[in-house]
Structures are given as C-alpha cells and as structure tokens.
Assembly symmetry: D2
Homo-oligomer: 266 residues x 4
C-alpha cells in the first residue's frame, strides 16, 4: 500500500500554507464546531491564534444525525472562514460532505473527511484528485486496517497530502460520547508514514476530558490535536458541551506545548 510505512519508511510531513503537519511539529487545530457568524468565527480565530493554534477549524456543512438539527451555514460559513484566514493568517480546515461541494473549497486549506464519511469512497476518490491536504477522520467503528485503506483510496488517486485523525470509537460505555483510542496513535505510526492527530472533543464529548486526553495523545506520540473552542459554549449551536472556553483552551495548549518539548528529551 502507498500509505504503508514499508513502502515509505520516513515520516510524511504535510505542508499546509506556512505551517507543516508531522515531522516533529505540534499541530493544534482549534475552533468552533460550527461557524455561526462572521463575528463569532473572527473572535474565536483571534483568540486561538493568540494561544498557540496552528490552524483554524469551523464547520460549514454539518453532518447531523437529524435532518431537523442545525445543518451549518454552508457557503456563507466558507466566506467567513476566508475572512478569518485573511485576518489571522491561520490556515483553515472545514468538512466536506458532498462531492459536488469541492469546487467551493478553493480558499480552504485542508479538506476534512468526517467519521461518517470515512468509507464514502466516492468522496475519498474526489478529494484524492485534488492536491489539497486532506484530514481523514477514523470512522467510529472502523478498524485500523479500514482506516488506512480509506487513506489509500485518496492516495491512489494521486493526493499524498493526508493527515489522519483519531476521534473516538463507539463502545458500550455512554458516559463519554465516544472512547478515544490512544493506541491508534502508535499503531498507525508503526503501520504508516502519515501524521496522526487526536480529536478529544468528539472523542469524549465532555470539555473537562479534552485536556487529559489531549495530553495523553501527545505523550503517546501524536502529531497534534484537534479541539473545539467556543467563545460561549453554553450557547453554541452544536456540540456546546464538548467545547472548551478560550481560557481553558489556552491553558491546555500551554501544557501541550511544554509536554511536546519534554517528550523530545525523554
């Protein structure tokens, strides 16, 4: 397989504008679950930029269990992301949910494939034809092998800029929304040359668990984390209970940076 380490012993380093993912860098992707307004995304973008983020996240097209839940602002959100990008210089990442949306992603720096679409092979092939970096999330009941085969669908089409992301799997335990599988990090590192991040916001569904799980991810060798930050979690239109406040996020990021430095020495 193209994604296997056997085939490519050195770690892949993915260039995203002025930043890189993998290769010893600590990537911190932060931002709201959904882009809710220009003001909201700008406020959060400035705050996470000041506090160590290397990339800005924000959902435009939201895959929601119910058709009656807030579905995201769509194109409008893409525009707001562009504005936030111009203002802060942060590369932006947002999720694609439909092959026909790709043409709207011109100013987006990283295209995210969400957990529900990890085996949406038509979508994988489509982003594989692009040269834009793709962040591929693990499906919530997908094996490591299936995860890597999905990355292979993208790479087989020619796009080598793939970032993997563990975001929790589904188990019998419902205290947390999902269960972060930290072993995924060293296993994927062994099997593949691709960088891997951990999203503990979706992975736990509880803001107070994001820090310990993100620290665990970095200690286990993850190339970074993805984290939901909201300037007002209690009024977020989606996933408020798993979003960190800016203050909480800032404190966590400082710890993550220190831990990441320390891990190089031990």
């Amino acid at each position: 397989m193209l994604v296997s380490r056997e085939n490519h012993p050195a770690d892949s380093v993915i260039k995203v504008n002025n930043t890189t993912v993998g290769g010893g860098n600590l990537t911190i992707i932060a931002g709201p679950c959904s882009v809710e307004s220009e003001e909201q995304i700008l406020n959060i973008a400035r705050a996470v930029k000041e506090n160590g983020a290397t990339m800005l996240r924000g959902g435009a097209f939201k895959p929601r269990t119910s058709p009656y839940s807030f579905q995201g602002l769509g194109k409008e959100a893409l525009n707001y992301l562009s504005i936030a990008k111009k203002e802060t210089g942060l590369p932006v990442i947002t999720e694609i949910t439909d092959v026909r949306e790709l043409e709207l992603f011109d100013d987006i720096d990283v295209i995210q494939i969400g957990a529900r679409n990890m085996q949406n092979f038509a979508l994988l092939k489509e982003v594989g034809k692009s040269s834009k970096p793709v962040l591929l999330k693990r499906g919530y009941s997908s094996t490591y092998e299936e995860f890597l085969y999905s990355a292979e669908y993208i790479m087989a089409e020619g796009n080598e800029n793939i970032i993997l992301c563990e975001r929790g799997i589904r188990t019998f335990e419902h205290y947390t929304r999902n269960m972060v599988d930290i072993a995924c990090v060293p296993v994927i590192k062994k099997m593949s040359h691709l960088p891997i991040l951990v999203d503990a916001s979706h992975g736990t569904g509880k803001h107070e668990l994001v820090e310990p799980l993100s620290l665990a991810a970095v200690a286990a060798g993850a190339d970074g984390v993805m984290v939901e930050v909201h300037d007002n979690p209690d009024e977020a239109l989606s996933d408020g209970s798993q979003s960190q406040t800016v203050a909480r996020y800032a404190a966590m990021t400082e710890k993550l940076r220190k831990l990441h430095e320390m891990m190089k020495e031990i």
Copy 2:
C-alpha cells in the same frame, strides 16, 4: 418525525412495480453480491425467480474496503440488470454510492443505500428527491434512532417509499462477519410504520447461517429477507463465503414461505 408510527399508525406498504413490500407480504430479494457478467446475472435471475424471489439484487457499484478490490462493473452491470429484469419480470435493486450516479438508475426499481452510507446525508437527500423506492441499510454501528433519522432525511425530501434493512452490527465477536440484531425488527416495527427486511448474508458472513437467521427474522416479524445467491459461490468475485448456492437458497425459501404462512395463524 415523518417515519414514526405515532405520525402514521398504519403499516406503510411500498409498491415496487408488480410487487409490494410490507403489508403482510413476504419479500425475498435474492441475487449475487456483484453482477459479474450478463450470463451470470441471467442464470441467477432465472434460478431465483423459479424459487420464490420477489426481487433481484446485484451489485454494480461496489463499496469495497480496499481500493484494489473488485469495484463492480458499474454501468455495464446496470445494463445486465435491465436485461435480467426484462427476461424474468423481477424488479431489480442495486446500490448507489455517489450522488452523481442517480441519473443512471432509471431502469432500476429500488435504490439501495448501503450500511457505509447510512449517514451520507448528501446521498440520502438526493434519493429523497427521487420517487423511486429506496432500501436503506442500517449502518453497522448505528443505533435505532440514528437509523430512523437517516430514513427521515429521505422522507423529509418527499420520498415516502422507504424499505429498511437490518444487516448485522459490529461487535467483539469475529466468528461471524457481523451480528444480526433480530430485536431491530420488533423495535423498528414499534417505532416506525416502514417495512423492515433482514440481510443475513452480510449479517453473518457464513452461508450456513443464512437460513437459521432468516427464519428467525421472519418469526420475529420481518417483512422479508435479502439474501446473496450465487451459481458458483466458490468463484464469486466478492462475498463468496456468505453466498448460498441456488439449491440451498431454494430449500430455504420454501421454509421461509411456510413459516411466514404459519406465523399468521399463531
């Protein structure tokens, strides 16, 4: 919700050409995992038609874990299905995996959404705009609630012709490919007015378990079964080990029909 029984107390009966699904009928959808050639699909179509099938299945666009596995014959397979339909009079069902394929499905009678795409909301919305019957398979780690919400995505767009299908969920037990959740049948019947079938071929991954699980499904109140039949399972291009021979299928179908009649009397 539109799909809920509260909202629509009577069972929905879905008309598919000259046959109906639900309403006390026993639906038997049979055929190969993949359409492999005109000869193959014609042979199997004739055989299942003679042995009680009410619909012919056959994969054209195959969602495969690996990009290097046989991906189906695509458009060519759709043509072969049309020929088999003309010859046998059986309505045909095949899976859609890409919103852009829909225009090719004109002569297909039922559009299948597979387990991996149960939460491919763009695809759900697209088939929801069609008036063709849709068979929606439960994702292999989806809850009943998520299953029904995905049906709701289709119905909210205007398409009321939805057939549900339980096809096994993923658990710790790997002796079987998946684990058929028979409780799904009475639970969905209670929650929703839509008909529900059981696919024990994918549900077990073992041809010798298809009969006992299909009998169980009918005893529990399922509106029918979906079953993989191959004229030469050992040489099938996909899923051979879970495909029944024609003889085995014929014997099973006879038992299912008898059981279905008996269940009305007890």
Copy 3:
C-alpha cells in the same frame, strides 16, 4: 474438547427429574427474577405450570451491580423454591454465586451460573464436581469460543449435564438492555452437542420484546427459552420492566409451542 460436536456427534439430552432438555423437546423455564415470598413464588409457579412451563426459575442469591440493591432472600428463597417444587412438580433452577453455597442446593434441580460468573473458573470447577445439571449463561461480552471453554471447565471435572443459555451481549445500542445474539444458537449447535436456550428477558430488558425474540430463537433452532414472569411486574423487587405478566407469558408460550411443532415439519 469434550463439549465439541466433533467429539460427540449426537445431540446431548439432559435429564432434569421428569423432564428432558434437548433432543427435540421445547424447554420453557419461567418464573420471577427473584423469589420474593412464599406466596409470590407459589402463585407464579402454579400459573406457569398451568401454562406450559417445564421448569421454574427464581433467584435466591442475586448478583447485583450495587451492594445496596436487593440481594435476594438467600436460603429462605431456596426453601420457598422447594415448596413450590413439591406443590407443582416443576423442577427448579436458581443461580449460584459462591462456591460455598453449593451444599445448600440439594433440593435444587438445575444450578445456574450467571453471565457475570461465566469465567469464575473456581465456581465452574466446583459445579463440575457435582452431578447436578448446570445451566451456563454466556457472559455479556464473551465469544463463542470462551463460552464453550467455560462449559469445558465444567465437563472436564466430570459433569456432562450442561445446558447453555444465550442471554444477550453488550453493544453500543442501549435502547435494549442487551442485544440477543440469535446466531449464537446455530453456531453453538454446529460447534457443540450441548442444548442451548435463549433468555430474551435479560436479552432485551423489555417485556414487549420477549415474545418476538423467543419466537426467533425457536425458529433458529433453540432448545427452549428462559423467561421472567411476575404476577405483578410493576412491583417486582428486581427486573420488573423485563418481566412478562402471566397472561402475556401464557399467550407467548402457546405460540412458542405451535411454532416449535411447525418447525419440525418445514
């Protein structure tokens, strides 16, 4: 292995007093989750006896998640079971939870090992030294192989009178208490010569699902069912929501008997 069908091609038939389990008989074990009083168990015993039960169940030593939940009446309950047995002639089954309790089980006809103790090997060995029939429940996250190895622990000590019982496994779906794995029936039948029952009361946790799942079990080839019946489910000291009323139980049993007869003919 002693329990494997390879080693013993014919079905084992387990004699329990005046009744037999396996060998084409339909075993119906019915009774309350817990024995609550002499009057309660006598009332229920008479009612289930009149309505087709072949054995009476009733918990004396209850394994409860919390130490503060009702733990069963213990020895007192064993006495009440003896009285109910004398009055109705039904063999009685109750669960053992401690190797030191075995001496109290003299008048009990079948010793039950519950799901939580499926791998309590000390207990398995202890009942293996007895000659009393043992009903072994599958652990709620145990594989088929582990299930049979636990039976092997009993048989390796000399006790061949083993009845297996599937009672639902734990999955991500929490609408039901557990998920009844109907495939367990034909798989165990293939692998082993031991009879197997299905307990849909624990398997679903919902009284309205006990009938469809029990019917499914019999259609799939189970040797019988285990079912919780209470004369007043709403006031049961344990598991009320999964207990059937006597009337509901009686109606179900009649259907099960008819189905079981029919299955021999198809």
Copy 4:
C-alpha cells in the same frame, strides 16, 4: 457511595508496606504474567527492583480461558513470591480467584481481583472483610459505574484500601488484545477518591505498545502503571507476546519517571 469523591473529597493514599499508592507517587508494578519457578521470579524481581519498580507482580492462580492452558503454580508460586519479597524488599501482588484461597495470602501485600472477577461479588465481599490492600481491575466490558460499584462492594465490608486498575476493554478492533480506555483515568479521578493505575500489557497485548500507552496513562493523570516483564518473553508460559524484556522495561520506566516529574510542573 463510600468510594465517591463527593463523600471523600481528598485523594485516598493506600499504604502498602514501605510504599504508598496515590498521593502524587508513581507506582510501578512489574513482573511476569505467571510465576514459573523460583529462579525466574527471583531474576525478574531483582531486575525490576533495580529499575524503578515499586511492587512485584506474578500470577500464582491464573484464570485461563481454557481448562487445558497452564493454570499457574498455585501455592508454590506464593512461596516463591515470598522469597522474592524477602530478597528484594518489594511488596508483592498476586491474583485471587477463589474465596477459599484467601487464607493462603498472608504474606502477599496486595490482593488482585482480575477483570473476569470484577463482578464476582462473593469474592469482592470476602476481600472486603480483609484489611489488605486490594487492586481491582476493571472488567473488559464494564462501565465506569459498574467498576465503582464493585469497589463499593469491597469498601462496604470495611476495607478502604482499594487501588483501581484500567486494563483495556473489548471492542470490534482485534489488532490489539483489548483497547486501553485512557479516559477512564480522569473520569474515575473525578468520580472517586481512589487511586487508579493502567495495565497496558493486558490493555494492548503487544509489548511494543506498552510504552506509549503507559506514557499516555501518566500524562492523563494515572497514579502508576502495571506492566508485564519477563526475562525471556519468547518462552513465557503465558502472555509472552505482551511482556517486555527487562531492557525495554528499564528504558520505559525511566521515561515514565521523567514524565511523571514533568507533569507536576506543567
């Protein structure tokens, strides 16, 4: 509940001979899966003592899936553990599997209740009557709530010296033997005052994954780790593939100690 933090806001610190578990200490329990001979346990005991272990583990009574697998040396192993304890000064921990074995544990410092016995309530009550520290492992499909209720069974009998241990849960992924649930650490810390360790040897089943998962555990706030070490993993009588060599263990322990110190500063 007695084990809940509400009831006891300060962290519990468990004294084990000359060492303490919890309270900011890093506990490292190391040793072979099974005690195989006096020489083996002495060799390993000396090696782990020299390399930062605070306690020696070694199985005497082994709960094995198959009755035909090596069941441990029993009493003989307890003697060898005593000898190793005398020689190295390390407190020793070994698993109990039968209420009747407790009297043999006089010279054992910590009694382990294994995952399979987490809901063996008779055993929990028995060790609850002792005053010896108990290490309680989480069942491989047990919820956090069930885990704490099992600890409550012990404490309700009067024994407050309880150490919890996450050792991996069972999921659909079989690349690893189990899946280490790192979230268990901060969740249990929030809910309870008891110390919690992580056993990444059982948790992953692969020796090369023990280090990254143990590091993750410490980063997430665990009070220590439990780890299988063998002087000759390839010839271990049980669990060889998940056992670290002494050299590998030594390197890991050094990293764990450094990380633990650093975590206090960040």
